[in-house]
């Protein structure tokens, strides 16, 4: 249905026809119900503003919702990786902890990192063992600065997978 044609009608008709496809996308991406409502609402309100430039509303709506779902999981995964990374950094740097506590933590961390592929082992050992920032890590291991942030993120994803199975994360 074109933009002009819809000016006469309502959005209800369009949405009614789209319901099964929305449900399919949200189910496929396993979006939690409360977040699914937000994603759907934001997508539909964006459509109202951009309607004039959209050629095929049905495809655009499904495509945009799908893209939002991808971004949703990417953001959630990133926030988990960041939480795990900060937590590990904080735990290994906590000076007030008893020596035994730190030794246990180091052992567990080494075991988790040791199960990763060699590239991630090197990157995370520099990060948690020597406190190297990504730039320094890139220099020491001979990676390009432009690609090191992506590599660190992949290694954090792999470490997170050692702790929790997260959907859609890449093996490293």
């Amino acid at each position: 249905m074109s933009h002009e044609a819809r000016q006469e009608g309502s959005y209800e008709e369009l949405l009614r026809g789209m319901q099964p496809r929305f449900a399919q996308v949200l189910a496929r991406f396993k979006i939690p119900p409360q977040d699914a409502e937000d994603l759907l609402q934001q997508t539909l309100l964006a459509f109202v503003r951009k309607e004039a430039s959209v050629r095929v509303p049905e495809t655009w709506l499904v495509g945009t919702l799908r893209n939002r779902c991808l971004k949703y999981w990417r953001a959630r995964r990133r926030s988990l990786y960041t939480a795990i990374d900060s937590a590990v950094l904080e735990a290994v740097a906590a000076e007030e902890r008893p020596a035994q506590h730190l030794a246990d933590l180091q052992r567990d961390l080494n075991a988790a990192v040791g199960r990763l592929r060699p590239r991630c082992r090197s990157i995370l050992r520099l990060r948690y063992g020597l406190g190297c920032k990504p730039r320094e890590t890139a220099r020491r291991l001979g990676y390009r600065e432009s690609s090191i942030y992506k590599l660190v993120e992949r290694c954090l994803a792999a470490l997170s997978n050692q702790l929790i199975d997260t959907p859609g994360s890449r093996a490293c």
Binding site: A27, L40, R49, N67, K71, A83, I84, E90, I164
Partner: protein, 432 residues
């Protein structure tokens, strides 16, 4: 554990959870994993959500229409202002915080990019100022982020066409960073990626360009916009052609031509057909190139754009040259050279002068070549060609004068001029 998985647990608590998970507690590991496997959406619940949203969409549409009407009045007011005052108003005046004013400014910038690149830069700067302001006012509005990203991207594109590559790079990077936090509109993302790809192409990072065009293509398909897909395919084909992948360039351009909507963007059809003819010629498929040329000549003649016609005549000359019809080639190159000089299209004029020089060289007409080399230098100086390119043309004149010129030398200079067009700091290194 739920708050940890959602990333909302304070740092100290999160550190304790990680510490515990590292110790290998299987129970907690399973508990955490459950947070990533939510139940699918219930159909009845989705129905009621859609009902509620339909009402909101109707009221949003009324609000959007009011904002759109107001934009017309505001733009008339802005158009009457001198540029510095316009920019000041967009940056500071609450009254002008209108999404559609930003959108129209950016449409104008996009439309002016080839006809008047410096005006396009100014319009895009105004768009960036306004979109930045709207974005700051509505920090959670992803549509405002989209507009802001588009503004930076269009500014980057205008800077690229104006040969300000450093600024173009910054602007495109900023756009790409922003669009990641936008509404998820695949068309908006495709636009940002494609414009960045064009910058990669201009900077001769063809692999990066192809990567970005591929990402843009995925988004065009996601949105079901076949015409845009055709446009991006044309860009990708050109980048592949630059790396010598001529048959891929031919295939992709042919596919692009089936997708492009001539009514929506008639010139794009001509550009794609022109590129295809060039690629066929370069691939040695002369019969196909000549037959396509005959097919597109009347279409170009109808389009009536002087520069497009000149470029097509140039291609005719190149085809004649490749067939050994040097006299025909020379006539075409002389016409095109004069046309580009009259239109002050300086780099293309220089390139066609080199084609003409090659034709003269092939016929052993050295005195005429010397005359040509002596004639073109003052022309390019008066047209304001940049310093490094002028230095390269001076070297050309000297090499012709000293009879050290060769087809290889001419080819190297032509290659240099193609790159230097977008990169004024590039220096020419003559072949040994």
């Amino acid at each position: 554990m739920r708050r940890f998985v959602e990333g909302t647990l304070p740092a100290a608590g999160a550190a304790e959870v990680v510490r515990h998970l590292l110790s290998g507690c299987d129970g907690c590991r399973r508990l955490a994993a459950r947070g990533w496997r939510p139940q699918p959406v219930d159909a009845a619940r989705l129905d009621s959500v859609l009902g509620r949203v339909a009402d909101r969409m109707a009221s949003e549409r009324a609000r959007v229409e009011r904002e759109r009407r107001r934009a017309g009045i505001l733009l008339a007011e802005l158009d009457a202002m001198p540029y510095p005052r316009r920019l000041l108003m967009l940056l500071n005046s609450e009254r002008f915080s209108n999404w559609f004013v930003g959108e129209i400014l950016l449409e104008r910038a996009h439309a002016a990019v080839f006809s008047d690149p410096s005006q396009a830069v100014r319009l895009a700067e105004a768009g960036v100022a306004l979109a930045g302001r709207i974005s700051r006012q509505r920090p959670t509005d992803r549509l405002a982020v989209d507009l802001h990203a588009r503004a930076w991207s269009i500014l980057g594109n205008a800077c690229r066409v104006s040969s300000d590559l450093e600024r173009a790079r910054d602007a495109c990077a900023r756009a790409e960073e922003l669009i990641d936090h936008g509404s998820g509109d695949p068309l908006e993302e495709a636009g940002v990626l494609a414009r960045h790809g064009l910058l990669d192409h201009a900077e001769r990072r063809f692999d990066d360009a192809v990567g970005r065009f591929d990402a843009a293509l995925r988004r065009c398909r996601m949105a079901g916009d076949l015409h845009l897909e055709g446009r991006v395919l044309t860009h990708k084909a050109r980048s592949l052609g630059e790396t010598g992948k001529l048959s891929a360039m031919i295939d992709l351009t042919q596919r692009a031509l089936t997708l492009i909507d001539p009514e929506r963007e008639p010139r794009l059809v001509l550009v794609a057909q022109h590129n295809l003819t060039w690629a066929l010629k370069e691939a040695g498929r002369m019969d196909e190139a000549l037959s396509l040329l005959q097919e597109i000549l009347p279409l170009h003649a109808r389009s009536g754009k002087t520069l497009d016609l000149l470029r097509l005549r140039w291609l005719e000359g190149k085809l004649a040259q490749a067939q050994g019809q040097l006299e025909r080639a020379e006539t075409a190159f002389r016409e095109v050279y004069d046309g580009f000089v009259r239109s002050a299209v300086v780099f293309d004029a220089a390139l066609v002068a080199l084609d003409l020089a090659a034709v003269l060289y092939e016929q052993g007409r050295l005195p005429e070549m010397k005359q040509l080399a002596a004639d073109v230098l003052p022309v390019f100086r008066s047209l304001g060609i940049h310093r490094e390119a002028l230095a390269a043309l001076a070297l050309f004149q000297k090499a012709v004068e000293q009879e050290r010129i060769s087809l290889r030398w001419l080819g190297a200079l032509a290659g240099y001029l193609k790159h230097a067009r977008d990169n004024p700091s590039l220096e020419f290194e003559p072949p040994a």
